[in-house]
Subunit: 84 residues, 2 copies
């Protein structure tokens, strides 16, 4: 029987950005004191997209990210760039 | 018969970003002296996506933008942020 092995999985740049986007959307949304549903309404997108964004799942389109950023009153790059 | 009217169409933030992405991808690609096909191969995406990106059409996903940025050796935000 094969022993347990420790496997280091390098997180890809995509996964890092998915995670960063999730944290940023959540934190800007909390800062504005609005619910996921409010954000979806403001951004004129389906609530599913907001929920997916904050769970770092899915592959959001530029269009969705621009709408979310606009609703949060930030630039789309604020959702993606490394912390300064 | 109705006279011609001048209609000012406000370009949306999405269209601005689509256009900026197009210009950046094209200019970084030219700088690296590679063809659209080379870029598609490097990014491991279909050539159609590169062509669409450079024509400012379509709605690219975060995944595609990250792959293109990686192949051009820049950060995804370098493709989207306003010129400094």
């Amino acid at each position: 029987m094969e022993p347990w092995r420790l496997v280091l999985v390098k997180s890809t740049e995509f996964q890092r950005l998915q995670k960063r986007l999730a944290e940023r959307v959540r934190s800007y949304r909390k800062l504005r004191n609005i619910s996921q549903e409010d954000l979806a309404d403001l951004a004129e997108i389906d609530r599913t997209y907001v929920s997916q964004s904050e769970r770092a799942v899915g592959n959001p389109s530029l269009g969705v990210m621009v709408k979310v950023a606009g609703a949060l009153d930030v630039h789309v790059t604020d959702l993606l760039q490394p912390a300064t």
